[in-house]
């Protein structure tokens, strides 16, 4: 049995001081169950003082003691081992706490991102417009929880449909916030009057420039205004892939040109107008659908033109979207399509 009063006075004082700390316990001749209980709990490091004998020392270490001393351990060596063991255990605790904090922080961030994603999705149209003579389909695949893309599909009275796809340059929360800002600033009407797409984009560009936001937020934006009685589509484009028109016979064409991305310089955005035919399909899409700008997505759309609109767009996206190692799209992907029916 170890008699603590028989230990070197300085070692005894240091053992008492260590034992007074909440994360350290000094125990004399412990039975294995006591050491195992401490080891299981994990937040208290045990310094065992055992009677002489390698077997007793080994048993204490096996049972989870962070250090084992004996009355026979030379004084200087015993002091050094005690101090080192206490310092090592404290470092380990600190590291474990930091890891736990990081884990909690990551959980909180993930919860916030999930909430942000829900909020962002809640801004999207809840249902597709139901109007005679036209059918719609949409696809929205964020790369992360939140997306730098968004879209709109909105009836402006009984005869017009406003639709846009928007790709905030960059990814993640910053780009997602920019999509939200631009959605909130999108004003297709002036009172009861429908504004031209070019005018609407010019105004959005002005907002971004005037706001003088940090990090130069920039966005590609394609806005189309479909007049149903005349089947005329008017669109304006700020640095966005041009929508594609696919005719029933498989011929396809890009609609309109493009202007400068929003948020870089003052710019005028031209309106482009085209009269569509019954049976025509038009697809607006962000560059995530055409990752290397090689028009493979367009060719796939043409190949699948005999399918229903939704299957055509979904099928073409499935063929061309690049996925990363975790199976996520390498970029945000959005498509909005409509078909002028022959009914």
């Amino acid at each position: 049995m170890v008699d603590p009063s028989a230990l070197d006075p300085e070692l005894r004082r240091e053992l008492e001081a260590a034992d007074a700390c909440e994360e350290i316990a000094v125990v004399y001749d412990p039975v294995p169950e006591v050491l195992e209980a401490y080891a299981f709990e994990g937040r208290i490091g045990v310094v065992a003082v055992v009677g002489a004998g390698a077997a007793a020392e080994a048993a204490a270490l096996d049972a989870g003691a962070i250090e084992v001393l004996t009355p026979a351990t030379p004084r200087e060596l015993a002091l050094a081992r005690l101090r080192n063991a206490v310092a090592r255990f404290r470092s380990r605790l600190k590291l474990e706490r930091a890891v736990a904090d990081l884990g909690r922080e990551a959980d909180t961030n993930e919860r916030h991102l999930r909430l942000a994603a829900q909020l962002q999705r809640s801004l999207l149209p809840r249902s597709l417009p139901e109007v005679a003579g036209v059918r719609f389909s949409t696809a929205y695949l964020p790369r992360d929880f939140v997306s730098g893309d968004t879209y709109e599909l909105r009836l402006l009275g009984p005869e017009r449909v406003a639709l846009f796809t928007l790709d905030a340059v960059g990814h993640g929360v910053r780009a997602a916030l920019l999509t939200t800002l631009l959605r909130s600033l999108f004003r297709p009407l002036q009172g009861e009057q429908v504004r031209s797409p070019g005018e609407v984009l010019g105004e959005l560009n002005g907002y971004l420039l005037d706001a003088q936001l940090d990090e130069s937020p920039t966005a590609a934006f394609c806005y189309g205004l479909l007049d149903l009685p005349s089947r005329r589509l008017c669109l304006a484009n700020a640095g966005h892939p041009s929508p594609v028109r696919i005719r029933p016979n498989g011929k396809y064409e890009r609609l309109g040109g493009s202007g400068l991305l929003l948020g870089i310089d003052p710019a005028a955005y031209e309106d482009f107008e085209v009269e569509l035919e019954p049976g025509d399909r038009v697809v607006f899409f962000t560059d995530g659908a055409d990752p290397v700008y090689d028009e493979r997505f367009l060719r796939k759309l043409v190949e699948l033109r005999d399918l229903d609109l939704e299957l055509q767009v979904g099928g073409a996206l499935g063929e061309v979207i690049a996925l990363d190692e975790e199976g996520r799209p390498e970029d945000d992907v959005t498509a909005v399509a409509f078909e002028l029916t022959t009914e």
């Binding site: 905030a168 640095g239 400068l260 991305l261 700008y293 390498e330």
Partner: protein
């Protein structure tokens, strides 16, 4: 091909640097590249020649690095000129009209002349 970039001074008196891009410049690479370039602006970078001969793809995060850099450089009288863009990336510059606010040329000597 590994994603990478290398930036080095060409003419420090004029604040001219050359940035060589290789592979793909995507969201994972963009923040580090942006930070390094903006630090160089603080240390005197005014004009940037971008060697894009080995650049295979660039996404919108990558493009935004150069838009942001351009906004920092223009008030200081600086420019960015790309050379050696492949056809797909040229198309990106054409669609976004970035070719109207940054220089896009074929050869390195044209890029250097564009900064003169």
């Amino acid at each position: 091909m590994e994603e990478t970039y290398r930036v080095q001074p060409l003419n420090q008196a004029h604040g001219t640097y050359e940035l060589a891009l290789t592979g793909r410049v995507y969201a994972d690479l963009a923040p580090g590249l942006q930070e390094e370039l903006l630090e160089l602006v603080d240390r005197g970078l005014r004009n940037l020649v971008v060697d894009a001969r080995e650049l295979e793809q660039i996404d919108s995060s990558g493009l935004n690095v150069f838009v942001h850099l351009l906004k920092r450089l223009r008030p200081l009288g600086g420019k960015i000129v790309f050379f050696g863009l492949n056809e797909n990336i040229r198309r990106v510059f054409r669609i976004t009209k970035l070719e109207t606010v940054m220089g896009v040329v074929e050869e390195r000597n044209e890029a250097l002349e564009g900064l003169a």
